[in-house]
């Protein structure tokens, strides 16, 4: 019973998207932080991001953001490096990890959805 309880606790603390978590740690965590809180207005927080659950997230991971124009009151510098080397599978894993961690209406994304999102990037 105790062992069962422990394994249940462990299971709750571990994200079911371990591959996505590893990729997040390697590629995203330095800026977006372990808890996704980001850094002031410099690095947007993922916790409250309006982009959670949106397929646009795949395009941002793949192509980054380059917009240094001071025209937005919320973010003065919009800049994120592109992670062009990541495959659609890896982007799917990261997307699922991020959404599972911080998106209230979490729904699993599959690779077909990510592939089609990547084809339609702006």
């Amino acid at each position: 019973m105790i062992i069962l309880g422990f394994s249940f606790m462990l299971a709750c603390n571990e994200s079911p998207y371990m591959q996505g978590k590893r990729l997040y740690v390697a590629n995203c965590q330095n800026c977006h932080m372990e808890d996704g809180s980001g850094l002031a207005k410099l690095v947007p927080s993922l916790q409250e991001s309006a982009l959670l659950g949106s397929p646009v997230i795949a395009c941002i991971i793949k192509n980054g953001i380059q917009d240094t124009i001071r025209n937005d009151q919320t973010f003065l510098v919009k800049e994120m490096p592109a992670f062009g080397k990541l495959s659609a599978t890896e982007i799917t894993n990261i997307t699922n990890y991020i959404n599972h961690s911080w998106y209230k209406n979490f729904k699993e994304t599959n690779i077909t959805e990510i592939e089609s999102a990547l084809k339609n990037c702006p």
Binding site: N30, C31, M33, L39, A40, K41, F75, V77, E79, P81
Partner: protein, 206 residues
Amino acid sequence: MSPFKLIFSMLCLTAIACNDSPTELPYLGNKVIENGKEIYHTVGQFNHYNQDSVLMTNKDFAEYIYVADFFFTSCPSICPKVAKEMLRIHDALKDDPQVKVVSFTIDPIRDTPQRLKLYGDNLGIDHKKWIFLTGDKDATLDLAATYFVAALEDADAPGGFDHSGKIVLIDKQGHVRSFSEGTDPSTTPKLIEDIKKLSASYTHPK
């Protein structure tokens, strides 16, 4: 064991050994002989522009104690983590006018004063308290060594520079008195304590 780790563990031991008495912070680095006099290690000279394009030198900090780090704004690796700790220090010491926070960019080609200003705006900092400095690249890389911070150009490193994330405390005479690992948030409270201790030593000299 690296000399830094050794010094740091020695610092910790001292702190544990005498946690009640307000001991003086140690002087880090080797003493040098100058004009027949032994003096403590002093950080190098700089001529750098701040985020308002005003030229600043060591003399501008003679009335202040400051923490310094070396970074660049487009750094994809450790910089945001270190910036988060610098921000903690900036916030913790915001009411002590004797304390400044200084960030040297090691990427002056991209990090113009205007860009540094934007970076500071995004961090929501007081530009009078947190000074960003940009200047000659090679001079800055050499300068970093005198702050005991490793910084070098490396095409294979993320963003083109390889550097350590140390945050270093400098006294009014330019001596290195304490440091923390900017990449390890658990080392920040000790540094904040040391800053307060050093600041108090000027306000209430023994």
